[in-house]
Amino acid sequence: MTMTQSTFDNRNAAPPAGRHHPRAGLADTFTRHPELVSLCLLVAICVAVALINPAFLSPTSLIDMGRASVVTGLFALGVFSILAAGGIDVSFTAIAAFAMYSLTLFVLKVAPDLPMAAILLIAVAGGTALGAVNGWLVHELRVAALIVTIGTQYLFRGILLAFIGTVWLMELPPQMVAFGKASMLDVTTANGATVTLPWYFLVFPAAALLTWAIFNRTLMGRAIFATGGNPEVAARLGYDQRTVHLFVFAFAGGLAGLAGIVHVCANRMANPFDLVGTEIGVIAAVVLGGARITGGTGSVLGTVTGVLLITVVNNVLVLVGIPSTWQRVVVGAFILLAAAFFVTRRGKLQSRNRKPSP
């Protein structure tokens, strides 16, 4: 190196908070990894609930929460991918409903012998295709993804209910029933009740792992974040925007398709009215997991944490004895408090930053 290091010392390059604050190390970790904040929150809530009602810590309740988180979790991973690319999606529930219902109908009416693996594959493929439609529209119409996906939510749901069917399918094909029932782990409680952890539970961690790999081990993951950070710049730097848009929406669609089939199998019936309406809650879970609604941030770990947070809160209301009239108030207050906790943790750190504006 020929230049004088004294002028080029990069003190500024170190994160600004790191210089004068002794506790900055921890604080800095929180800023960089907002998912840790959610993790702390999750632990705090679990401890609090366990203190109020120790039954919370029984394997049965943990297993129950685990399986309850699968569908939301799959959705959330998709939403996270789209948020990371700077978009948003409210149509994924409609995609899931579409995929699950039309596929179940298809298997019942046309191909009763279709193996389960093929059913899952078709569900993913179908979801991917519908997701790709979203991605294509978002890319070609160049409008905010929120608007496009509001449109496609109505469109997909409208097509499903108006043209495909509304009749509930109570008798699922046997292979789907078997898939929903196949148990990985059985726990028997004192009163003789058994709690089973079904195999399909694994779909969630597997999808999380896949998402993690895509985001952290492939160029696509970086391209998605790049697009979320600044789409124009990303385009200029050679990240093909069309590919990114198609990919994230298709990926989210695929996950939604999968979620739909899991939902049907777990539920043992196909109700075309299901799922639509839960999208805002899923988005809330992802945002609570540290992804910003403006894009370019977030992590898979955070998303999983966010999903667990929402699942736990929704599943302990009775356990801690909150009467049903008060449950909405409690969940609403929880979301606000969690978000406030989140923001103040982050805000404290940012005020140390040299950035001028709040």
């Binding site: 749901r157 109570m170 009215f273 049903s324 009239t325």
Partner: protein
């Protein structure tokens, strides 16, 4: 001549699909009239209100409505009747502005009957809980209320965490039921209200291997509940036939259109409504109560295949 439109809470679900078969049957029998059924795409009283309002504006002669929420429709019903539209309702015994409200049975009797069946299964003792579609659903609250009242006969029965909301969503009900099973491992009974509740709770009981140990009695339809009834996860279901209710509503509407008089004990020509009770309703109209209540279990549900 004359149009009767049936407006249901939400279209597409089994209950109202069954009702539609009744409406269609009635339409066949009255080929000279224009008879149809519609309903909103979402379970939202505001959407139903819009449909009713548009139908009134369109000039439909008679409306047979199953209100999502009777209170919300009071305003438009009043205006409709002022305009000369015939209004008949169902499942709305508190509706002020209706000409006739057709009930398949007395709600208090029904709730008590469900509970009696539950108590019988539970042997009159143990913890039990209740589910309603939503806290805002009046009939559901009436049923569980009557159930609670009935359970007082059995000092051994202890009601815990009552009035859980199911939102008529089988999956949500399933989660909630599991949570209750965890919190109260010694629970013995569930009394449920919305059509899907038995499916969710039934699945929770079956998966926990508690079939036969926990009793479940609630409103449900025979076909969807069949598997759980067979396995014993559902002890018994209570219901009335929406097909018959649909026909009854339309029959009443037709009579009103023709200017005929309704009388106590009359026969509407519909099964379960062969000898109806006619009372003054809470408002301007009459309350017409049939005897359409059905309680079915494993052995008897096959008689009602819908």
């Amino acid at each position: 001549e004359g149009t009767i439109t049936t407006v249901v809470k939400i279209s597409g679900i089994p209950w109202f699909d069954r009702m539609e078969t009744g409406v269609e049957k009635f339409a066949e029998e009255n080929a000279d009239m224009t008879i149809s059924q519609v309903g909103p795409a979402q379970a939202d009283s505001a959407q139903q209100l819009q449909i009713v309002q548009d139908l009134v504006a369109k000039g439909t002669d008679a409306l047979a409505v199953v209100p999502m929420d009777p209170a919300i429709l009071e305003g438009i019903f009043k205006r409709a009747m002022d305009r000369g539209t015939i209004i008949v309702t169902h499942e709305a015994d508190n509706q002020m502005n209706t000409m006739v409200d057709v009930e398949a049975f007395d709600n208090a009797e029904y709730g008590a009957a469900l509970n009696a069946r539950l108590a019988e299964c539970m042997g009159g003792e143990g913890k039990w809980t209740t589910f309603v579609g939503s806290l805002g659903s009046r009939t559901h609250m009436q049923w569980v209320g009557a159930g609670e009242e009935n359970a007082k006969q059995f000092p051994g029965m202890e009601l815990v965490d009552p009035n859980n909301e199911s939102f008529d969503d089988a999956n949500g009900t399933y989660e909630k039921a599991k949570e209750i099973l965890r919190k109260h491992p010694d629970i013995k009974g569930f009394q449920t209200s919305a059509g899907n509740d038995v499916l969710g709770v039934g699945r929770a009981i079956e998966e926990a291997g508690l079939t036969g140990k926990v009793c479940l009695v609630g409103t449900g339809l025979p076909n969807p509940s069949a598997a759980y009834l067979d396995s014993g996860a559902i002890t018994a279901i209570g219901f009335w036939d929406p097909q018959k209710a649909g026909m009854a509503m339309n029959a009443v509407a037709k009579m009103l259109l023709e200017g005929k008089e309704l009388t106590d004990g009359m026969d509407l020509g519909v099964e379960g409504y062969n000898s109806v009770t006619l009372k003054d309703g809470p408002g301007v109209g009459k309350l017409l109560i049939g005897n359409g209540m059905v309680l079915a279990d494993k052995d008897t549900y096959k008689d009602y295949l819908f």
